[in-house]
């Protein structure tokens, strides 16, 4: 009896671990072909798809292109059908078509277990290529003519999702955010959580903010710092003190690009409560940090920001000095003393002298 219980417990544990692995490993972080996770069973190709395309991963040229930044809200709102599932097969007979095995219907209705949708094989995609085995949350649009569905936005056909996503009662963006949030909260690999943070960064609702706050406590430094960047960028200053500490005294081996991202995200701060911290950040030795801080102060358009703007008139960086000048001119509505960047570069001292004199007399 006792052995039986132990056996059952071990079996349950193994099964549980297997389910978690299945749920995460098939995400849009495109898996290498030699993936060996037992639960990542390839979905059988549809038997009636004669023109099935075998993935030609090694032969496909890598892509690079200019594109819109990801916007989960736009995808969610504009899609007629949002499906979590795995592509079984693709065909290129006339129009390129993919068959998607449905795991969950996030938005819209699907009466069958699979659904076909059209796609453009040559359209560059920033998140996932349309090819068999790719798993994710797909955003589909009903064709205006001829019925059926097509990819809503070829640049972003799908985003990362867990295999056994639990759908929330709320619809719309709240639901899609929750789907991605499950990856952030449960994925074992930092790479998946990093992708999840990127997707959540594009969703501006309270739930995404809440999830990013949890991301800011992640053990992976990339997840943590990208979450902080996303929060600051959306004017959430709960993690500002951490950001300040990180920027002024970066932990050893911190990737510079992560610090740059946080510095750039400072511009998103609109909350005047952040002014003291932003003024302290103006003393950073990192020009990008000072630039982010001064841009935030500029865009607040409040008199409390004046001290910081005035301090920055003497900054070593011309970009920082420019933001100070333009910020003061916007605040005081002295348009003639708020030059365009080119004009400032030509006659910088004139503008600096004016604002320093103004500061002395205020």
């Amino acid at each position: 009896m006792k052995k039986r219980r132990i056996f059952l417990a071990i079996a349950t544990l193994i099964l549980g671990l297997g389910i978690v692995s299945v749920s995460l490993s098939g995400s849009l972080r495109e898996t290498l072909s030699k993936r060996t996770t037992p639960a990542a069973t390839p979905v059988a190709p549809a038997s009636d798809k004669s023109a099935q395309v075998t993935p030609a991963r090694a032969e496909t040229a890598p892509r690079r292109f200019l594109a819109d930044p990801l916007d989960l809200e736009r995808l969610t709102n504009n899609a007629d059908l949002i499906i979590i599932g795995r592509i079984n097969a693709t065909s290129n007979g006339g129009r390129a078509t993919a068959t998607l095995a449905i795991d969950k219907v996030v938005k819209g209705e699907a009466e069958t277990q699979t659904i076909d949708f059209q796609f453009s094989p040559n359209a560059p995609s920033a998140t996932a290529r349309i090819q068999p085995e790719v798993f994710g949350m797909f955003f589909l649009k009903r064709n205006e003519a001829g019925g059926g569905y097509r990819i809503l936005d070829p640049t972003y056909p799908a985003v990362i999702a867990p295999a056994n996503a639990v759908l929330s009662k709320e619809g719309g963006l709240e639901r899609t955010v929750n789907v991605v949030g499950q990856v952030l909260l449960t994925a074992r690999t930092a790479a998946d959580r990093q992708v999840a943070v990127i997707v959540l960064s594009s969703a501006r609702n309270a739930r995404a903010t809440e999830l990013l706050r949890q991301g800011a406590t992640d053990s992976d430094s990339v997840v943590k710092m990208q979450s902080i960047s996303a929060l600051l960028n959306r004017n959430d200053i709960e993690t500002l003190s951490i950001a300040e500490k990180t920027l002024l005294n970066p932990p050893a081996r911190t990737e510079p690009y992560l610090l740059d991202n946080i510095s750039a995200a400072l511009e998103g701060i609109k909350d005047p409560q952040a002014i003291p911290a932003l003024q302290r950040l103006l003393r950073s030795s990192n020009e990008r940090t000072r630039l982010g801080a001064i841009m935030a102060l500029r865009q607040m358009h409040v008199m409390d920001a004046v001290d910081g703007l005035v301090i920055a008139l003497g900054d070593h960086s011309r970009e920082v000095r420019y933001e100070s000048v333009i910020g003061l001119s916007e605040l005081t509505r002295q348009n003639e003393w708020g030059p365009a960047i080119g004009s400032f570069e030509k006659d910088e001292q004139k503008y600096l002298d004016h604002w320093k004199e103004w500061a002395r007399n205020r």
Binding site: R29, E30, T31, L32, S33, R35, R57, A58, E59, T60, A61, P62, R63, R64, F65, L66, A67, D68, P69, L70, D71, R74, P124, A126, R129, T155, A191, Q194, V195, I198, S201, V222, Q226, S229, N233, R253, E255, Y257, D260, N261, A264, A265, E267, M295, Y322, E323, I326, N335, E336, G338, P339, A340, I341, G342, S343, E345
Partner: protein, 866 residues
């Protein structure tokens, strides 16, 4: 005597001739400078009025050396002496004090510099040269300055009289031609002493005869610059609380100007300390006596009268509340005074009335005299039974017109209070203005009309604490505690008269000072203008307001009175209308483009001094006019976009805009008056201009556009030509890719030349590779993707970069920690905004596109492009 009279006659004739010869030429000059010829509106020909604007003080006698004098600066009964120096000048004044010992020794003090309208309280001994302090028994002093009469004034206050009280002594204007007779009557409480200081302000001896009411008569010889003191003790009977005394002082006419007197009552019971005020009974303007702000509440008042003439007279005292209402005055029974008789007036009816009427806490009095001018003199005293202060109030005739003015010291430091009362002693309503001056500013009190007998009361502490702005928005800062209270009769009917008095009290210091010294002449004016109006546009309005100044008729001290009354008319009402037709301002509304003029006429009153005590009055009207310009309007957007000749077709960022004038006309002409090369204009001769961006603005609104409709140009309309200018990196991320090792996404915010984010909506972007691929890794065979364009839906762009096929050399890697530094390939990349065709649009960034083995990046970035 005859010679003196002839001299006066010639002086008077001389001034009249000067006035007749000079004034017209000055008036002509003034008119040509300040009055613009105009064509009155044809509908209102009766408004064609142009009276000469009088010169302000340019007709006044030129500044001459002046001396003011007091016969006593030291009293044995007082602890110390203070002087308040009072400049009424608009200029800095240098004043030289000269001190005289009792025996006539002269000691020159150091010059004192007074700032315009400065009031300065100083101890008298601080002005005496140090070596001479405490070395003499002092007589009088004089103050010398060059200026107009009363341009500098002063008053002495003896402090600590009988231990705690104070007594005032006013200065005399030497050279003002007093008569040979001075008389005074006063009340003496028990145990008090009357001190009469007889001063000789000249360098020749004089002789004075003093005849007292008890029959005593004295001949007093006064040496040059010396002071003789007469002391008379009060009777100390047990029954009477006090007695009356009076004196008549006469001297030779030649000595009249040199002879100056002051009197004091000291040491009386109930802390009665007061001054004795002398009247020049031969120089009195009219027979009645007046006083204002006589306190009755908690006060024991005394009023004494004397008939100075040889015939019987009757006097009828009439008391009115100072609350400004002359209703229900208290009139005492007529008092008959025989020749040279003195009377202690029975005030019982007044005190009874005051006991039941709160409005009689303080009153003004008018004593109607049946006799000739100068036949009645009097004095009023009030002893505060709680504060034990004696209020010494001048009871005198109305005096010349300059008595309807005043420039008094005021102070509110420590426990000092200052209350100024101004009473209309005319038999009709009359008006005055007041100006509270202090260092660094003033507080104007516009025209006040008082009914006959009415009184206006100004409590300086209250005015300061209320912080109520005057008609020019001024308040007296809470930190200000002293200055000058100036007032003047203003635009009143002829024969109007006021009296005024300031009472400065400090209970802690036992000070109850009274200031009632007038200015030289009433203020002249107002002289002013319609404030230059802004231009307007058809259908829009502005308020044309007025600004006026009044001037002290002697010193030229100008006081800004803010707005004042005018009657308005417009040259061409088809261009602009106005309403109302009279007032301190009028609302002007544009009707159609064009030029016209707004006129305003106003009446003024002018007083010119003879240099001493006579003021010549003149009244007239003047006119001012200001141009009124009604300009065409321009409406439309204030910014246009420029994408280096491309059009991304974003409605929020149009490359062409239309400006419209709502003003109808037969001809239109649009022009760029500043930075015209940055825009292209089309349809310039219609009412709607099409404007296309051609280059970016250097500052906001640097392109100026005007439209001229039927010959009238609009104001400049400012346009900003905006352009995409730079990319600000907002994030970079590196994630692993199953197919290609890694995927890097670099995101930028697209900014204009002011580093502001571009507007919402679709935007075309493209990249152009400026070099071929350069391998950094030996044997590198990574594929190179072509450059291209795209449409973004927000003002941001991401460069999405995948690594390479896993079988290439070198094999790509997922992003490492830290990121690797193995470079594989690079090439030049420019990014353009405004077109999806490679190389078109505004170039906003140039960089090196660098692929590493485990990530990619943009390096050597230049943005914006210089």
């Amino acid at each position: 005597m005859r010679i003196v009279r002839q001299t006066r006659f010639f002086i008077l004739v001389f001034f009249l001739i000067v006035a007749v010869l000079i004034i017209p030429s000055i008036l002509k000059r003034y008119v040509s400078a300040h009055s613009v010829k105009s064509t009155p509106h044809s509908d209102n020909p009766t408004q064609v009025r142009k009276a000469p604007t009088p010169p302000r003080c340019s007709a006044c006698p030129p500044p001459i050396p002046r001396r003011i004098y007091v016969p006593a600066i030291e009293l044995a009964e007082a602890q110390h002496t203070e002087i308040v120096l009072n400049s009424r000048s608009p200029n800095e004044m240098e004043v030289t004090p000269t001190f005289y010992t009792e025996s006539g020794e002269t000691i020159l003090g150091d010059p004192i510099r007074l700032q315009p309208a400065e009031i300065r309280f100083v101890r008298i001994d601080s002005l005496i040269p140090r070596y001479h302090r405490n070395n003499h028994r002092w007589g009088g002093m004089s103050l010398s300055f060059t200026g107009s009469v009363l341009e500098v004034w002063a008053q002495i206050t003896f402090h600590g009289v009988a231990g705690r009280g104070s007594i005032d002594e006013t200065f005399n204007i030497l050279g003002d031609q007093p008569s040979d007779t001075r008389e005074a009557v006063w009340w003496m409480p028990r145990k008090s002493t009357a001190v009469i200081a007889l001063g000789n302000s000249s360098d020749t001896p004089i002789q004075v005869t003093a005849s007292f009411s008890d029959g005593e008569s004295k001949q007093i010889n006064i040496r040059p610059f010396s002071t003789e003191f007469i002391r008379r003790r009060a009777a100390n009977g047990n029954k009477e609380s006090g007695t009356l005394d009076s004196v008549k002082l006469t001297t030779a006419p030649a000595s009249a100007d040199a002879f100056r007197i002051a009197g004091f009552i000291v040491g009386g019971e109930k802390n009665f300390d007061s001054s004795i005020r002398f009247a020049d009974t031969k120089k009195v303007a009219q027979p009645n006596l007046y006083a204002t702000n006589l306190r009755l509440q908690n006060t024991e008042p005394h009023m004494v009268l004397k008939n100075t003439g040889p015939v019987e007279i009757t006097a009828r005292p009439r008391f009115s509340p100072v609350a400004g209402v002359s209703e229900s005055p208290v009139e005492l029974p007529a008092i008959t005074l025989g020749p040279n008789e003195t009377v202690d007036v029975n005030l019982t009816p007044l005190r009874i009335a005051a006991g039941t009427r709160a409005d009689l806490d303080a009153v003004s009095v008018n004593v109607v005299n049946s006799g000739a001018a100068g036949s009645l003199i009097g004095a009023w005293y009030g002893t505060d039974t709680n504060k034990l202060l004696t209020y010494d109030v001048p009871l005198r005739d109305s005096g010349p017109i300059r008595n309807s003015t005043g420039s008094y010291p005021w102070r509110t430091d420590q426990d000092y209070t200052t209350i100024v009362n101004i009473t209309n002693i005319s038999d009709h309503a009359a008006t005055f203005v007041a100006d509270i001056r202090f260092r660094g500013g003033h507080y104007f009190i516009p025209t006040n009309e008082l009914p006959a007998g009415g009184t206006a009361r100004f409590d300086l502490r209250k005015i300061i604490s209320e912080q109520k702005p005057d008609n020019q928005g001024n308040v007296i800062p809470l930190s200000v505690t002293g200055g000058q209270f100036h007032w003047s009769i203003f635009h009143s009917p002829p024969s109007s008269k006021f009296i005024g008095r300031s009472e400065v009290i400090s209970v802690s210091k036992g000070v109850g000072s009274s200031y009632s010294c007038p200015g030289c002449c009433p203020d002249s004016g107002p002289f002013g203008t319609i404030n230059p109006p802004p231009s307007t546009t058809p259908g829009n309005s502005f308020t044309a307001s007025t600004t006026g100044t009044i001037y002290d008729g002697c010193t030229g001290y100008g006081t800004n009175v803010g707005w004042f009354q005018m009657e308005f008319w417009m040259d061409d009402e088809t261009i602009a209308s106005y309403t109302p037709e009279s007032g301190s301002s009028t609302l002007v509304t544009g009707v159609k483009p064009g030029d016209t003029a707004l006129h305003g006429s106003y009446s003024w009153q002018s007083f010119v001094s003879d240099g001493w005590s006579i003021c010549y009055e003149d009244r007239g009207e003047s006119e001012d006019q200001q141009p009124v310009q009604v300009k065409p309007t321009i409406t439309g957007p204030t910014s246009v976009w420029w994408f280096n000749g491309e059009n991304p077709a974003n409605a929020n960022m149009p490359i062409s805009i239309q400006l419209t004038t709502q003003t109808t006309g037969s001809t239109y002409s649009w022009a760029a008056t500043a930075n015209g090369s940055k825009v292209i204009l089309s349809n310039e001769t219609t009412n709607t201009l099409t404007l296309t961006g051609n280059n970016k603005s250097g500052t906001a609104g640097d392109v100026k556009i005007t439209v001229t409709v039927n010959g009238t140009a609009s104001d400049e309309y400012a346009i900003t030509v905006k352009a995409p200018h730079q990319l600000n990196r907002t994030s970079i991320s590196h994630v692993s890719s199953g197919n290609f090792g890694y995927k890097t996404t670099i995101t930028y915010s697209i900014r204009d030349q002011f580093n502001n984010s571009l507007g919402a909506g679709d935007m075309l972007v493209n990249e152009k590779f400026t070099t071929g691929a350069v391998g950094d890794f030996p044997g590198m065979n990574w594929l190179i993707t072509p450059d291209g364009g795209n449409t973004v839906h927000v003002p941001a762009v991401s460069d999405v970069i995948e690594g390479e096929n896993l079988n290439k050399n070198p094999a790509p890697q997922a992003p490492q920690t830290p990121l690797g530094s193995t470079k594989v390939v690079h090439w030049g990349q420019d990014i353009y905004i405004g077109s999806d065709t490679v190389g078109l649009g505004r170039k906003v960034q140039t960089a090196t596109f660098q692929k590493y083995k485990d990530h990619a990046d943009h390096e050597n970035i230049t943005s914006p492009i210089p």
